[in-house]
């Protein structure tokens, strides 16, 4: 399971109000009929964070010694650089 604070986009020390506000915002973004899988992830994350005991446990055991170092230290997706229009136009020109 993804880190619930990442799913809701809140800091690990977020207050109850911040967590609830983030949850409501995420639910608006991915409603159950539009993105059911994403909604489930958001709901599970909220369920975990709203319970102080589960949140405490999640925070204590969040350390991940298994994931690849490249993922831990560079995020899951590749960086995307803004390189200006030049290289894009070269592809358009190259017919």
């Amino acid at each position: 399971m993804m880190n619930p604070t990442d799913v809701l986009g809140v800091s690990p020390d977020a207050s109850d109000e911040e967590i609830r506000a983030a949850y409501l915002r995420k639910v608006r973004e991915c409603s159950p009929d539009r993105a059911p899988e994403q909604f489930e992830r958001v709901r599970d994350a909220y369920e975990m964070l709203r319970d102080p005991r589960r949140r405490r446990r999640q925070r204590l055991f969040a350390a991940d010694p298994i994931s690849p170092l490249a993922v831990l230290f560079a995020g899951g997706t590749r960086p995307r650089r803004f390189v200006g229009p030049g290289p894009w136009l070269e592809v358009l020109k190259s017919k």
């Binding site: 204590l60 010694p65 230290f73 590749r78 390189v83 070269e90 592809v91 017919k95």
Partner: protein
């Protein structure tokens, strides 16, 4: 003259895409005839060839061929100019191309043709926006200018949704696809894959922006680590454009090129995966260097991760430290990471290390201010360590605890992290939550010597309103026959939640048990008071329970030697059950439990009428259900049981599932295997949800066939699991393990169903020529030398020796005891132990005789000083 057939031949070659062959043929024809028609055919063929070259991206070759044809065939210049114009798309050619669009008298056909060329070929938006041939306010120029601004914006930095609206570009504009491309690029940079793909899908495959679709898709695929897919262009991919064209590859590299640190980290990950020790150390050095340069703030965390991985991989610590340029900081974060790494390996030795490190973490975290020493967080860690200890095999943990005690005595170290009881206790004190108590009690229940009762008391002391510990304490008191204490707990439960089904179920059993116990101890006045209390319960009015109350009254009256009252109560039992045989059996069961042998004496079965004998199975079943509810043993004379078994076939169809179950239990409990087997056969034949239960009962009747018994029990457990009946599954697995707790063999649900089918077909009890189902294929193969030899497997002479040795240590059976009897005795002993029955009680029940030396005198209770 150019014949139509000849011309058709060339055009056929063109239509098949054989441009080179068509061109050769057209040249031959034109050389031979030299007519305007042959020249037109040749120029047509050249145009097709040029377009094919351009389609393949061979622009230089196409341009050279255009020049050649222009020189050799001046009449073709106009056509070739049109062909060459978009390829250049410079301001001059654009001006020439688009000038007609400024003419209001331009025909619709010509306008459509020109717009098609713009949509398909114009890629330079800035040139289009500056096209002098069109007025400044022309829709095409304003749209191109807006698109150019947006295109520059989305490729240079983040943009807002408002910037992507582009109202200047209408849906019908030849530049409409550019709007989609601009949005796709913006979504790509935002990481919104779904929206990006939606925009790309909508781009017309014939439009100029479609040339970027394949490249963009390949960059999207980079996120899922798939290689560039040259052939894939999607619904709107530009035909003929290879995604791996130099320009596309350069774009991809420029946009998605990873930082050096990420590349180094990926290499280190690969080295850890391949366990190349020298490679790891070398890469650690470069990763640390790169991180120090690129992201110094994360260097310490990275070194900690690297140290942990190297520790788990058992790499030379000195070399790792040298490669990192110094050791990593051993703080709470490091301990937590190291503990997590060790607990992930599932190696018992590593689990012990993990427990020790978690303990270190608890202390370090408190020192570093993560949380207070006695905070709920500390409780969470203690509970976690206790959970890890439960994953270590019990003997290994005991040995470890003993050696740690010896070491700790010398070094004065706190080793409480090795003792689950202390950890649970600490957890429950710091954070008294039912979940923690429940886990503590589950652990205690698996230990020897009534530890669960101690935990239940501790639980109840802290959380008075929790039902679980009170239920446990009540059951524990009942098992010890401390009915007064048990009733006290019941009163507490009634105050908390008197409507709980598990409380209601226990209430009737407990009060009836208390009456029997008091009658046994001749405290008859107390017993009668309890009966009055029992009779007032709503639970006592259900089913045949009023007859139980009447039987208890008869018991007490018999104790008082009040013959009239006893007879009246016995008549009540008769009346309530409407069955003389059932009434007699119920009185017998109750009186035997209270050790009132006179009342419990059953007359000979031959004294029953033929109707009473015919209904004996049902009567036995009713009494069996009541005895089961009260947890009383069903001791009935053998002739009664034999008669019930004899009468069973005639009455089985009229019996309900509960009655069949009770009969199977009675038969099994009283050793009447015929009755038990026949009841399970009928129960299995009924089908439905009770099949798993009857298969479990069938297993219990098969003491003489241990293999078949184990398979039936294993199958019953699988079927019960499927029905979510975990209690039945547990009981069935206990039978499958046997008295010595053998290892369980695997059985799939399909195999369980196959066993069920076989057992349903086996309606006759084994023996007397009846064939038993053969489950040899489901059981693990016997490894004794004889069986291995029979299977044609090689037998090592030393194995044979080992097995012969084992025979020397086989248990000597007592004289007159057959192996089957021994098996049954062991099974019964195991079952009794599971029920919590004492050995004395089990022995007296089995032997049904007072121990040698006459009746034991009741022990005097020692006075407390």
């Amino acid at each position: 003259m150019l014949s139509p057939e000849t011309e058709a031949g060339v055009r056929q070659l063109i239509s098949r895409g054989e441009h080179r062959a068509a061109l050769d043929r057209a040249k031959e024809i034109h050389k031979a005839v030299r007519t305007p028609a042959s020249e037109t055919l040749l120029v047509d063929t050249y145009v097709e060839r040029i377009q094919a070259l351009m389609g393949r991206g061979l622009m230089v070759e196409a341009k050279a061929l255009v020049e050649l044809v222009r020189q050799r065939h001046p009449s073709s210049r106009r056509r070739l100019d049109e062909l060459a114009r978009p390829a250049g798309a410079g301001p001059r050619s654009l001006n020439e191309l688009l000038r007609p669009l400024a003419d209001p008298a331009l025909s619709t056909d010509e306008r459509v043709t020109l717009e098609r060329i713009v949509r398909r070929d114009v890629w330079d938006l800035s040139a289009l926006a500056a096209c002098e041939a069109l007025p400044v306010t022309h829709a095409l120029r304003t749209a191109a200018a807006a698109l150019h601004r947006s295109f520059v914006a989305v490729t240079s930095g983040p943009v807002t949704d408002e910037e992507l609206e582009l109202p200047e570009v209408s849906r019908r504009s030849p530049l409409a696809c550019w709007k989609l491309l601009v949005r796709a690029i913006a979504y790509f940079h935002r990481g919104d894959r779904e929206s990006c793909e939606r925009a790309l899908d909508a781009i017309d495959a014939e439009s100029a922006p479609a040339r970027l679709v394949t490249a963009l898709r390949s960059m999207l695929d980079d996120d899922t680590a798939t290689p560039l897919q040259p052939g894939r262009s999607g619904a709107a991919g530009a035909p003929g454009l290879s995604a791996s064209s130099p320009a596309a590859a350069a774009l991809r590299t420029a946009v998605t090129r990873k930082p050096a640190l990420v590349r180094e980290l990926e290499a280190l990950d690969r080295a850890f995966a391949s366990r190349s020790r020298s490679g790891i150390v070398k890469l650690i050095r470069s990763v640390v260097e790169e991180c120090r340069r690129e992201s110094p703030g994360r260097l310490e965390a990275l070194k900690q991760h690297i140290s942990v991985r190297c520790a788990v991989a058992n790499l030379d610590a000195a070399r790792v430290v040298a490669a990192m340029g110094g050791p990593s900081r051993h703080d709470a974060a490091f301990n937590r990471l190291l503990a997590r790494a060790f607990e992930e390996t599932h190696d018992p030795e590593h689990l012990v290390i993990a427990c020790s490190i978690w303990d270190e973490f608890r202390r370090a975290a408190a020192q570093e201010g993560w949380f207070a020493e006695n905070s709920p967080e500390s409780a969470v860690i203690s509970l976690h360590i206790a959970g890890l200890l439960e994953r270590i095999p019990e003997p290994a943990l005991r040995e470890l605890q003993q050696s740690a005690r010896r070491g700790a005595a010398l070094r004065g170290r706190n080793i409480s992290f090795l003792f689950p009881d202390e950890l649970y206790q600490r957890t429950c004190l710091l954070d008294p939550h039912p979940e923690a108590f429940s886990r503590w009690m589950a652990w205690a229940a698996r230990q020897r010597g009534g530890q669960a009762a101690r935990v239940a008391k501790a639980w109840h002391k802290i959380r008075h309103e929790d039902v679980e510990p009170i239920l446990h304490l009540m059951d524990d008191a009942e098992a010890r026959r401390a009915f007064g204490t048990a009733i006290g707990w019941l009163a507490k439960l009634d105050r908390i939640d008197s409507l709980r089904p598990d409380v209601q179920r226990r209430r009737f059993r407990l009060l009836a048990g208390a009456v029997i116990d008091r009658a046994r101890r001749k405290k008859l006045a107390h017993a009668m008071k309890e009966i009055d209390r029992l009779a007032a319960l709503p639970e006592a009015q259900q089913g045949d329970r009023p007859a139980v109350v009447a039987a208890l009254r008869a018991l007490v009256n018999a104790g008082w030697d009040d013959a009239d009252a006893t007879a009246s109560c016995c008549a009540d039992v008769d009346r309530l059950l409407q069955d003389r045989a059932a009434a007699a059996m119920l009185l017998s069961v109750v009186a035997t439990a209270a050790k009132q042998r006179a009342l419990g004496q059953l007359e000979g079965v031959e004294h029953l009428s033929s109707a009473e004998r015919a209904s004996l199975p049902r009567a036995l079943a009713r009494v069996g259900v009541l005895a089961g509810e009260l947890r009383l043993s069903l001791k009935l004379p053998r002739p009664w049981l034999a008669e019930a078994a004899r009468r069973f076939p005639a009455s089985r169809a009229s019996l309900g599932v509960d009655e069949l179950r009770a009969l199977a239990e009675c038969g099994e409990q009283t050793g009447n295997v015929d009755l038990a087997y026949a009841a399970t056969a009928e129960g299995l034949a009924r089908g439905g949800a009770s099949e798993a239960g009857f298969l479990y009962l069938r297993a219990r009747t098969l003491a003489a066939s241990p293999d078949r018994k184990a398979v039936c029990a294993r199958a019953a457990a699988e079927l019960a699991r499927e029905q979510q009946d975990m209690e039945l599954a547990e009981r069935a697995l206990a039978v499958a393990r046997g008295p010595f707790g053998s290892e369980l063999f695997p059985l799939t649900l399909d195999q369980a169903r196959e066993v069920l089918r076989e057992e349903k077909a086996a309606t006759e009890r084994p023996g007397g020529g009846t064939r038993e189902p053969d489950y040899g294929h489901l059981l693990p193969q016997c490894q004794c030398p004889n069986c291995r030899r029979n299977r044609g497997e090689p037998v090592n002479p030393s194995d044979e020796f080992d097995f012969e040795d084992e025979d020397d240590f086989a248990i000597d059976l007592p004289p007159g005891m057959t192996p089957r009897m021994m098996n049954e005795l062991l099974d019964a002993a195991a079952e009794a132990a599971r029920r919590g029955e004492s050995f004395d009680s089990f022995a007296s029940r089995m032997l049904d005789d007072p121990p040698p030396g006459g009746r034991r005198r009741p022990r005097r209770r020692k006075k407390r000083r």
